[in-house]
Assembly symmetry: C2
Homo-oligomer: 341 residues x 2
DNA sequence: GAAAATACCGAAATGCCTTTCGGCACGCTA
DNA sequence: TAGCGTGCCGAAAGGCATTTCGGTATTTTC
């Protein structure tokens, strides 16, 4: 049958060389585009390689080159939707077929993380990207990793490490500034789990923007969980205590969905009576709500790309400066803050 | 400084051997638990290895062993939420640190897919899992791949390939049977994009279950898109034409969310007046709706695990039998079909 | 105490590719 | 025609770990 036996050894360079009637060295040079090979010879070698469907063994190559063209991506939680765009961005930056990504999911387990880390080092990855599931600092992998490490989304607790996070403070600020620009003045903030750094940071940005505008938050920041249930409950409370509220900044799109639900139930028009701003720009939620949801997008794909580029730089010998860098976020405007024309 | 220079060569086995005062061969045996080594010698070697923080170069190992302990996962679409659980299942089955997964996202681009495929083969992966984004058949990678290939979620168009898909027909059937078991008799089916095999298969299951019960579908199967918008619109249409409908089987959780919305708007109680069944068990949607959504879970993580096991079997020499296998799905019951006590 | 058996260690080959360096042949110049 | 470049090719080393097989020490057996 056409399918080559799985047991049969793959064709090696020496097979090609023999078929082309040249030495190993010449075959290697011909295939890798080195000079020192006559055009006719090169052609003969390439034809032989094609004929035998030769694929150079990257293992042997890497063994010599001392670098493998692979990067490990160590995540603590694949379920989290934040990991995926970051991963895509990184994959993107590495380019198709140039660098490949080893994906490891530690399931939030330190032991498993250590296992994976060791496996990655054994496989001689050129670098490691560590992706957390929330923006709270996480323990460093340690200072003794022999390859560059970049922490994405969740920064390392060790300031000497390189960490990239979305700018949540700025996100909170942008959300408020947008509501202000649509004429809102009585703005409430419904957030999620107060133990999350993201919740705190966004609240800081919200407050700062209000202060800059000479305004105050309507009521206190309301913390609980990142769910629709909480969004519904909190919105009901806000409206009961402050019926004149005209803008709600939500800590997540889920909360915002809940807010929309309750506003609808209570007969409030969105965005005419109350504008609602979500966070995360989770498309399936933001695009399908009534009305569609204005939201803050953390540019996670960009973050992944940046992480990959930092790895590249470090591989190329650039001395990385440690510390946490906050990357810009962006506002995506939809119908929940500005009426459709 | 403590951090080893990135440029400095990693410690090799011969470093360890020299430090322990033994030969390479002995060091290798000691570390790998082979016999032919005196306990005292073994201890000395292990101490030296620890001291130098020696990590065996997996590349060299693989070069000899002829297998790398890596598997490629080729997806056409990382954004799709179906890929993730499959990936987790596969990762799970491979075990922490035993087998590692190369993740490649082809972005739905054939050229890019070919690039990735070639890269994976160059890296001598032991097997490849191809994950599609919908259950429609996709082109085969071809018969000449020198390693085992399993197609997950999207089956290969070539029946000689090994494909694993969730059993959509059975899913449709289970959904209807569940509604029947709660006493519903007037059941409608709102589905998504009719060009999807998943939509057709689920509809077949729905019809079959109704026929078995001696019933007919209320109205025709309603096809359009997998969105909340469509769920809302279609539900309004159903209620207008068939006000006595008492059960709605939806083709996705998004559609079901839309259905719940409209039912609520029109004053129908769920589940008392109308029961609603979703599909996909997408937790963020199913758990946060009012009431929470009964849904069909495709057991994707299990599917990923199975795919990994098929790869293992093939690596171990089992001759795989081609063809598409439909794996069982399961019903997750929540408040949208059975009232909370 | 001598022969045989055992336990342990090390040199060398192996896997696959890249690169260096020596050398052959040809063409050009003086 | 002798001498010198230049272009092209091939032998061999090297990268790292594993394994086979031959060879010493040491112990056991009669």
């Amino acid at each position: 049958m056409a399918r080559p036996e799985h047991g049969s050894r793959a064709t090696t360079l020496s097979d090609v060389a023999r078929a082309a009637g040249v030495s190993l060295a010449t075959a290697s040079k011909a295939i890798n585009g080195r000079d020192q090979v006559a055009p006719a010879t090169r052609r003969r070698v390439l034809e032989a390689a094609e004929e035998l469907s030769f694929t150079p063994n990257q293992l042997a190559r890497s063994l010599i080159a001392g670098r493998t063209g692979t990067v490990g991506l160590l995540t603590s939680d694949l379920e989290g939707r934040f990991v995926i765009p970051i991963l895509m961005g990184a994959e993107d930056a590495f380019g198709a077929g140039q660098v490949n990504v080893f994906l490891c999911d530690a399931r939030g387990d330190t032991i498993r993380e250590q296992h994976h880390l060791k496996a990655l080092l054994n496989r001689r990855v050129d670098g490691i990207i560590v992706v957390g599931r929330q923006t709270d600092p996480r323990p460093s992998l340690g200072p003794d990793i022999p390859v560059p490490v970049v922490y994405a989304y969740a920064p390392s607790a060790d300031p000497r490490d390189v960490s990239l996070v979305p700018d949540n403070v700025s996100g909170g600020r942008i959300a408020v500034e947008h509501l202000l620009s649509t004429g809102r003045r009585r703005i409430a903030h419904i957030s999620g789990d107060p133990t999350y750094a993201a919740a705190q940071d966004r609240a800081i940005g919200v407050q700062a923007a209000l202060v800059d505008a000479g305004l105050e938050l309507v009521g206190d920041v309301m913390y609980s969980s990142w769910t629709e249930h909480w969004g519904r409950a909190a919105t009901a409370m806000v409206l009961a205590q402050h019926p004149d509220v005209d803008g709600i900044v939500c800590g997540s799109d889920q909360i915002a969905r809940g807010a929309l639900d309750t506003l609808r139930d209570l007969g409030k028009q969105v965005p005419e009576d109350v504008a609602v701003n979500g966070y995360d720009n989770w498309e399936v939620l933001a695009n399908n709500s009534r009305p569609e949801l204005t939201s803050i997008d953390a540019n996670l794909q960009q973050l992944g790309r940046t992480a990959a580029m930092r790895i590249f730089d470090a591989i190329d010998g650039a001395e990385p400066e440690g510390g946490t860098t906050a990357l810009p976020v962006r506002l995506v405007i939809r119908g929940s803050t500005i009426p459709r024309r």
